[in-house]
Amino acid sequence: MSFLFGGGARPQPTSAEKIAAAEAEIEMVSNMYNQLVDTCTRKCIPPQYREADLNKGESVCLDRCVAKFFEVNVKVSEKMQGEAAQKQGAAGAA
């Protein structure tokens, strides 16, 4: 998930810090996956459950939902990083 917030390389992290960082990275991927499941099933699977299998329409909807969900994540993270950079720039100049 390093594409989301970049990885600010700090010199010589301790063992506990390294484990915590790796844990946080995994936690973040896992959160994003859980949200994706929650969001895309609500968007694509109608709550009547007439059949046990995914039909064609549902399958295609799920695939597109994943693609759009990633695209939104990239856009939002770019936007927030842009604003953070701007603020830092302003602070540095002051």
């Binding site: 594409f3 499941v37 929650d38 099933t41 995914l54 399958s59 994943v66």
Partner: protein
């Protein structure tokens, strides 16, 4: 590419232990979300205290569909994640 590359074997073992506990917890969360969603969508009649045949069928199909849907979303998620990592350079830090 990822913070995990830098871990020593001992650190990797500790991380793995934590991940196993996390997996157990994730499974339980997945299970209880599944029950809650299928109960909510399928059980709507409270004039009797035992599950009606129609409700039970709905719950079973709901579980099937949700598991298949999660599996498909997981595959797409991994593909997108891999593609992102390859393209690199969307985030700030690179």
């Amino acid at each position: 590419m990822s913070g995990m590359d830098m871990l020593t074997p001992a650190e990797q073992r500790e991380l793995q232990n934590r991940m196993e506990r996390k997996q157990m917890k994730d499974f339980m969360n997945m299970y209880s979300n599944l029950v809650q969603r299928c109960f909510n969508d399928c059980v709507t009649d409270f004039t009797s205290k035992s599950l009606q045949g129609k409700e039970e069928g709905c719950v079973m199909r709901c579980v099937d569909k949700f598991l298949k849907s999660s599996e498909r979303l997981g595959e797409r998620f991994q593909e997108q994640n891999a593609q992102m990592a390859q393209q690199g350079g969307m985030g700030m830090g690179r």
